[in-house]
C-alpha cells in the first residue's frame, strides 16, 4: 500500500520536476553548443554545404545573440567558399556593427568589402571599407581591395595613391621602390588614355561611323560611314530624279537602320573596351603586388 502510494506520488513529481530542472532555453543552448562544434568540424573537413546548414541550426536553436552572430559569420565563410557570394552578403549584413564585439565586426566588414567587390557592387564595397577605415583603419589587404574598386569606377588617381601607400608600407626599401616604379608604369597617361569616355562618344556618334572608330574599331567605323553615305546618296538622288516615294521611304528607312544601329554598336564597343582595359589593369596590379605584402 505504501509502495503504491509512493509510486503514485513519485511519478507526477518526477514528470513535473524534470521539466523544470532543464528549461527549454537550457536544452536549446546545450544543443546549440554541441551543434556549433559539429559545424566547426564539418567546416574544417571541407564539408561546406552541411557546415552551413549546421550553423543555421545553431542560429535557430540558441538564445545567445553573440553565438548567433558568430554562426552567421562562419556560415558566410562557408557560402563564400561555395561561391554563393550574395547569400554570404545576406548573412554578414545581419550581423551589423557592434561596438561590443569589435573583432567580429571588423572581420565581417572585411569580408563584406571583398564580397561586394566580387559581385561587382563597387560602391558598396568602398562604403564598407570607409566604415572599416573610420573604426579600425585599413589593413594592406583592405587598401588593395579599395584600389581595385577605384579602378573599376575609373578613379585611377585615387587608386594609384592607395597602391603607393601599400608600397610605402613595405619594409624592404628596394622592393618598395620597385613596386612604386611598376605602379607608375601601369598608370601612365598612355595606358589610361585607352579608356574611352561615354559622354564624348555620345556627341561624336552624331557623325556616322566616327563613334565606332573612337570605340576602337576604325575600319568598322569607316564601313558604317560608307553605308550611311550610300543610303543618304540613294535617297537624295532618287528625290532629285523624281522618285519621291522611293527616295523618302527607301533612303529614310535604310539611314534609320544603319545610323541608329551604328550608335548602339559604338556604345557596346566602348563598354567592352573599357571593361577589358580595367580588367587587365587589375590583373597586372595583382601580379605586381607581392603576396606577402
Amino acid at each position: 500500500m505504501i509502495t503504491v502510494l509512493s509510486l503514485t506520488f513519485i511519478f507526477p513529481f518526477a514528470t513535473y520536476s524534470t521539466s523544470n530542472v532543464f528549461s527549454k532555453k537550457d536544452i536549446a543552448d546545450f544543443y546549440a553548443d554541441s551543434t556549433f562544434e559539429k559545424a566547426d568540424s564539418l567546416f574544417k573537413n571541407g564539408n561546406l554545404e552541411v557546415a552551413a546548414m549546421e550553423y543555421e541550426r545553431v542560429i535557430f536553436f540558441n538564445y545567445d545573440f553573440n553565438l548567433s552572430k558568430q554562426a552567421l559569420y562562419k556560415k558566410s565563410l562557408c557560402l563564400k567558399e561555395l561561391h554563393k557570394y550574395n547569400q554570404a552578403i545576406e548573412c554578414l549584413e545581419k550581423i551589423g556593427i557592434s561596438p561590443f564585439d569589435s573583432s567580429l565586426t571588423h572581420n565581417s566588414l572585411h569580408e563584406l568589402s571583398l564580397l561586394y567587390y566580387l559581385v561587382e557592387d563597387y560602391n558598396n564595397s568602398l562604403l564598407k571599407l570607409s566604415i572599416t577605415n573610420d573604426l579600425y583603419g585599413l589593413s594592406k589587404e583592405e587598401k588593395f581591395i579599395k584600389a581595385l574598386n577605384l579602378n573599376e569606377l575609373y578613379k585611377f588617381d585615387s587608386a594609384k595613391e592607395t597602391l603607393i601607400e601599400i608600397a610605402k608600407e613595405e619594409k624592404n626599401d628596394s622592393l618598395s621602390q620597385e613596386i612604386i616604379l611598376n605602379i607608375n608604369r601601369l598608370y601612365t597617361k598612355k595606358n589610361l588614355s585607352k579608356i574611352k569616355n561615354s559622354k564624348k562618344l555620345f556627341w561624336i556618334s552624331f557623325i556616322p561611323g566616327l563613334g565606332i572608330a573612337y570605340a576602337g574599331k576604325p575600319l568598322e567605323g569607316f564601313s558604317n560611314f560608307l553605308i550611311n553615305s550610300a543610303a543618304l546618296t540613294f535617297g537624295v538622288v532618287a528625290i532629285i530624279n523624281g522618285y519621291y516615294i522611293s527616295g523618302y521611304f527607301g533612303g529614310g528607312i535604310l539611314i534609320e537602320k544603319f545610323y541608329f544601329g551604328g550608335r548602339r554598336r559604338a556604345e557596346y564597343l566602348l563598354q567592352k573596351n573599357n571593361y577589358e582595359i580595367v580588367n587587365n589593369l587589375n590583373k597586372s596590379i595583382i601580379n605586381e603586388i607581392p603576396e606577402n605584402s
Partner: protein, 287 residues
C-alpha cells in the same frame, strides 16, 4: 522483495524523465526544417533533407511530406506531386498532401491524373469537401469539359470565405470560355488580301495590322512609281514589284496565322486564371 521494489521505483522514475523530455529529436528536426522553408533557406533545407540524421528521425509519411513541401516552395511541381502522392491516408499531413498533389498535377498539365487522384478521396469536413469540389470543377474547366464543370459548379456553396471568391471567378471564366468567339482563318486571309493588315486587325492584332498595312502600301507605291517612270519591264520595276508581292503574300499568311495565335493566347490566359484560382483556396485553407 524490498530490492525489487526499489528497482521498480527507479525504473518508473527514469521513465518519467523520458516522458518529461518533450523536446524530442524528430520534433526538433521538423521545427528546424519548417524554419528553413519559411525563411526561404532552400539550400540548407535541401541539405537537411538529404542528411541521414533527418531521414532516420522522420516517419516515411513525414519525410515524403517534407520533400513535397520543399519541391513546392522551389517551384518544381512535377516532383511536388510525386512526393505528396506517397503520403499515406493515416498521416496528419494527408489532406494537405492530396490537395497539393492535385494542384501540382494540374499545374503541370496532367489534369486527368489530378482528377483520378482526388475523385475517390472522401472528406468528412464540409470545407474540404467544398474545396475538393472547387478543384474538380477547375480541372474540368482546364480540360474544357464544360458539361462536367456545370455539374460541379452547381454544388458551389459560396459560404466559405476561403473559397467563395474563387468559386465566383471560375463561373466568370466559364462564361468567358462559353462566349469566346472563334475567328475564321479564311476570313482573316481574305480581308488581308483586300486591304493589307485588315485580317490582323480582325484577329485583334491592331499594331501588327497597321504595320503590315504601311509596309505593303509603301512597297506598292514604290512599285507603281517605278512602273510609271520606267515601264513594267524595267529592272527596278521588277525588283520592287517582287518585293511588293513578297510582302503582300507574307501579310496574308501572317493574318491567317494570327487567328491561331489569338486563340492560343486566349487559352493560355484562361488556363493561367484557372490555375491561379484553384491555387489560392488551397493556400487559404491549409496555411
Amino acid at each position: 522483495m524490498r530490492q525489487i521494489k526499489l528497482i521498480l521505483v527507479s525504473l518508473l522514475f527514469l521513465n518519467s524523465i523520458a516522458v518529461a523530455q518533450t523536446d524530442t529529436l524528430p520534433n526538433r528536426n521538423l521545427e528546424f526544417y519548417n524554419y528553413l522553408i519559411n525563411s526561404k533557406l532552400y539550400d540548407d533545407a535541401r541539405v537537411l533533407l538529404k542528411s541521414n540524421d533527418f531521414i532516420a528521425s522522420q516517419s516515411p509519411n513525414n519525410y515524403n511530406y517534407c520533400m513535397g513541401w520543399y519541391y513546392y516552395n522551389t517551384n518544381r511541381l512535377d516532383s511536388t506531386a510525386t512526393f505528396f502522392r506517397k503520403v499515406n491516408p493515416t498521416s496528419n499531413f494527408y489532406n494537405k498532401s492530396i490537395f497539393w498533389a492535385t494542384y501540382s498535377l494540374m499545374h503541370t498539365n496532367q489534369v486527368d491524373d489530378a482528377i483520378q487522384l482526388i475523385t475517390p478521396v472522401a472528406f468528412n469536413d464540409s470545407l474540404l469537401l467544398a474545396l475538393k469540389n472547387l478543384e474538380l470543377s477547375g480541372a474540368y474547366l482546364l480540360n474544357r469539359n464544360l458539361k462536367e464543370f456545370d455539374t460541379f459548379s452547381s454544388k458551389y456553396t459560396y459560404k466559405y470565405y476561403d473559397l467563395s471568391k474563387e468559386e465566383k471567378t471560375l463561373n466568370n471564366i466559364y462564361n468567358d470560355i462559353y462566349n469566346f468567339k472563334q475567328k475564321s482563318p479564311l476570313l482573316a486571309g481574305l480581308l488581308s488580301a483586300i486591304v493589307p493588315g485588315l485580317g490582323k486587325i480582325y484577329a485583334k492584332k491592331i499594331g501588327s495590322g497597321f504595320s503590315a498595312f504601311f509596309t505593303v502600301s509603301i512597297l506598292g507605291s514604290i512599285t507603281i512609281e517605278n512602273i510609271n517612270k520606267n515601264g513594267i519591264k524595267s529592272v527596278s520595276s521588277i525588283a520592287t514589284g517582287t518585293l511588293f508581292l513578297m510582302a503582300y503574300s507574307a501579310n496574308i499568311y501572317g493574318s491567317v496565322y494570327s487567328v491561331k495565335s489569338y486563340r492560343d493566347e486566349f487559352n493560355e490566359m484562361v488556363d493561367y486564371r484557372i490555375k491561379f484560382n484553384i491555387h489560392i483556396p488551397i493556400r487559404n485553407v491549409f496555411n
